[in-house]
Symmetry: C2
Subunit: 335 residues, 2 copies
């Protein structure tokens, strides 16, 4: 059925080795022979067998991208960029959709050979410490991407989550808001980066944090934002602004405001993080902190690629830039 190296060799009247050399761009091949081989390859529509090559070399040319189901602020954007960045380096990408509730992902990936990949990019928010440990222990190159990674010894391309939160809250303060709530925080851990940034911004403005104004969200789903915002907006000391740790949460929060009969931003301003496309079409358009996903993706791919080459290189860490994008949900005058 499918033709093999041997078939090509026979047709071109050379040895298997020579064909292999041509396929892999080995330089020292005479023009005549090269031409003969190329003709034979074309004629037989020969394509190398990936499994055989992998078995032999141990390289698959594939990277895995582990994304939580609904737990990343900008999954589509990130996936797109990663696929692109990987492609330009000759890697293909398999996207592993894994919810925190999904038992399958962790063990599967932790297993160094279940899915034959050369390296793994794990979205930091989802990454359970054990998974990362297991991967690292198996000698599999791993890079944590996005979020504020806190796992041990592992390459990371992070976002300055604390800084992003601080900038967002700063923007709300400049817009004249004073009772600023936050959704997606970890109330039990005031040291968590987004919470820290939130507090820092308030402190700077000389404002004391209201205890009940910090609400958790189990995931970055619209429904999570909706639920939290409803609770927030039903309080007697109703906030006049809500900072959400991601755009999907913010979308849910806006809907909650409307359902509560409130206007955004007149009654309550809403702000997210991630700059997903949805926020550019929502009504009102969503103010957000844009994270450079292209940078995130390119750096992450560069990091795994580097680690695949040199497994013992020093652990590296970079931070992606972010920018506040004021839109209608905080600033009625801008579009």
């Amino acid at each position: 059925m499918a033709s093999t190296l041997k078939d090509v060799a026979r047709l071109a009247d050379v040895s298997v080795k020579t064909v292999s050399n041509v396929i892999n761009g080995y330089p020292h091949v005479s023009p005549d022979v090269r031409h003969r081989v190329e003709t034979a390859v074309a004629q037989l529509r020969y394509r190398p067998n990936v499994s055989a090559r992998t078995l032999r070399t141990g390289r698959t040319g594939v990277l895995a991208l582990v994304l939580p189901d609904g737990d990343v602020p900008y999954p589509d954007e990130l996936a797109r960029e990663v696929v692109r960045a990987a492609g330009s380096r000759g890697y293909r990408v398999v996207i592993e959709q894994a919810g925190p509730d999904d038992e399958r992902a962790a063990p599967t990936l932790a297993d160094a050979r279940a899915m034959p990949v050369d390296g793994v990019l794990v979205s930091a928010p989802v990454a359970p410490a054990e998974l990362v440990e297991a991967l690292a222990a198996a000698g599999r190159p791993v890079v944590l991407v996005g979020g504020e990674a806190r796992h041990g010894h592992c390459d990371r391309v992070t976002v300055d989550v604390a800084g992003a939160a601080e900038d967002a809250v700063g923007h709300l303060l400049r817009a004249g808001r004073r009772r600023i709530a936050a959704i997606g925080a970890c109330p039990t851990d005031p040291g968590a980066p987004p919470t820290a940034g939130y507090h820092r911004a308030l402190r700077r403005a000389g404002l004391a944090p209201v205890p009940g104004h910090l609400l958790p969200a189990s995931q970055h789903r619209r429904a999570d934002g909706y639920r939290a915002a409803r609770a927030l907006l039903a309080r007697p000391d109703r906030p006049d602004a809500i900072f959400c740790h991601s755009d999907p949460l913010a979308i849910g929060a806006m809907r909650a405001a409307f359902d509560a009969g409130l206007r955004v931003p007149a009654d309550v301003a809403v702000m997210g993080v991630g700059d997903i496309e949805e926020g550019r079409y929502s009504r009102p358009t969503l103010s957000t902190v844009s994270v450079d996903t292209g940078f995130l993706a390119r750096e992450a791919v560069a990091r795994v690629a580097a680690r695949i080459e040199r497994p013992d290189a020093a652990v590296a860490m970079v931070t992606a830039p972010h920018t506040v994008l004021p839109r209608e949900s905080t600033d009625p005058t801008v579009r």
Copy 2:
């Protein structure tokens, strides 16, 4: 580094064949031996090498799902469901994000061995005839999923696109709309299913189609819907309803209406297809035709699985059910 069958065999003091038997659940193994093997497997943390197995058996246990970048009405939902359906049958899924502008996808997938997969699910809207032909010619099991597939001899799990369009337009008519435009149509081909359904509904209501009320959309992007709707709403014979062939288009169309100073649904009703989550949070919430993506996914996976088993079975075709979901963008009173 990683242990092999041979290592396990040595440790368990049996032959490789026996280990292989145990691994693959071959029944005729004595309990004693089985136990010894299992212990050795656990102790060595043995995991089968997928590449070797694939090389030997020709089976990868992987399905590819080819999704266009922005050209499917409900990519997230579909991907999720397909991964789930495949998982329950022991298949993993690699998602191939491929835009129509993306040169890479077609040849790569057409190549029967570039990405070692057992079968391919191709989202119908994106499927260029050549790709499908090439795959089929290479003897690779292919199933077209979603959309109204028109390619030749190939398993399909389709959506009754014409029926969905007819039902949607019917709903708009019942809501009292009379000047109903459509976005995503193919004006050059009045026989195209969505257009046919649109016309059928109008005809039934005794309405003559307005030529300029049928606008194409190159893809299912919010921006495409925005652009088309702006043009539509600037016409002297402004439509009082817009039926969009997908939810993302409808989201864009709603935004265009607001930017033109119009109210939805008071001035213009908007309806989509797909029931994406975004439409349940948009303002107003988006009326839509919900397609049973779970059904789509399960049937599609069942079809490839069947074809992988029996490559020569007769070509099958099923149609997924759909339902009209009235929401605020057409019916101000419902939520």
